[in-house]
């Protein structure tokens, strides 16, 4: 029996469209499943196998929606790309930093505090400029540079007024002196499928493609490749977007993304990224 795959989505973006096309080209049965039209019985483990096939590619744009669907599917014995443990770690910057640090991967110095007062003390210790990031969040949302004490005080006070308790977990990183770009790699099953620079634009200091960042091919050297694969392993592997920055002392890994957006990489890379992902999922289904 040929393997069957499913693609769990809540929006069909370029990436999902390309994954559907790649499966079609290879004659792979890939069933798109709209997460917004799902209700899953979590107390009955037997159901749903038919709907999701041997391997499900979780591609929801909503992180928590995708994460909990993954948990439910795994409980029913369906393999998901990526695994719950990986998606859960990557969706949380604090947990990601812990794993990167533990694996001895160079990553920006990161401090965490739980009150404004203590965060101000931590900033004095680390020095300015620094960066504050929400522990969960994406597309660079609510990431802010803290250039000096006044700016930090103002941003932290605003953060304190925000209702979500997760915003009161103050995750602070040293500001890395980098060129106006970072490096995005797409890792598929322990292989680096694409490596690009993402340039920030004059309108925004962040490099996210979703914020208008521009993509360009990045040549890869062995030092970078080794770090990227080590970071991928540290979070459990699968299909990942591993991001690096260039510093005067070498590369640092600052983020690993679980539902990787590869539209930017696809526009400049010669590798068939969606094809590689489908082949990886098929291989996993056969194993």
């Amino acid at each position: 029996m040929p393997p069957t795959l499913s693609l769990v989505y809540d929006r069909i973006r370029t990436e999902e469209k390309e994954l559907i096309n790649a499966a079609e080209k290879r004659g792979i049965d890939l069933k798109p499943v709209d997460a917004k039209e799902l209700h899953l019985t979590i107390t009955d483990t037997a159901k749903e196998r038919e709907l999701f096939g041997d391997v499900a590619l979780e591609r929801c744009v909503g992180h928590f929606r995708g994460l909990y669907i993954t948990a439910i599917l795994e409980s029913k014995g369906i393999r998901v790309i990526n695994k719950y443990s990986t998606a859960s770690t990557c969706g949380n910057k604090l947990l990601s930093s812990i794993l990167l640090g533990k694996a001895g991967i160079p990553t920006p110095k990161t401090l965490v505090a739980f009150t404004v007062e203590e965060t101000m003390k931590a900033l004095e210790e680390m020095g300015y400029p620094a960066v504050i990031k929400p522990v969960f969040g994406s597309w660079g949302r609510l990431i802010a540079p803290l250039k000096d004490r006044e700016m930090a005080q103002a941003i932290l006070e605003h953060r304190e007024e925000m209702g979500n308790p997760l915003y009161q977990i103050f995750y602070i990183q040293e500001m890395i002196a980098r060129p106006p770009r970072d490096i995005r790699t797409v890792v598929v099953g322990g292989e680096v499928a694409a490596c690009i620079y993402r340039y920030s634009t004059p309108e925004d200091w962040r490099t996210n493609i979703a914020r208008g960042g521009k993509a360009e091919v990045c040549p890869m050297n062995s030092e970078l490749k080794e770090l990227i694969l080590k970071a991928s392993d540290a979070v459990g592997g699968g299909v990942l977007g591993v991001d690096a920055m260039e510093t005067k002392d070498g590369f640092v890994i600052h983020e690993v993304n679980s539902t990787v957006e590869f539209k930017g990489a696809m526009s400049v890379s010669e590798t068939d990224i969606p094809g590689k992902i489908i082949e990886y999922a098929t291989k996993l289904a056969r194993s």
Binding site: I12, I20, D34, K36, V61, R65, S138, N164, S258, T259
Partner: protein, 55 residues
């Protein structure tokens, strides 16, 4: 094929679209999702961006 914008009732010409795809109405700017209702493609107002959206 022509579909109706559920927001402004304007006509939207669509080609080779699939369920789940997002279109923007040129008349009113609404973000619309392609859905299938009783076998026919239709448009409904898409979900707005959530705090946890994206990578």
């Amino acid at each position: 094929m022509k579909l109706k914008c559920p927001e402004c009732d304007g006509d939207i010409e669509v080609k080779e679209v699939i369920e789940g795809e997002i279109l923007t109405c040129k008349d009113c700017g609404a973000e619309l999702e392609v859905v299938k209702e009783k076998g026919n493609l239709e448009l409904k107002v898409a979900e707005s961006e959530g705090e946890d959206w994206g990578e």
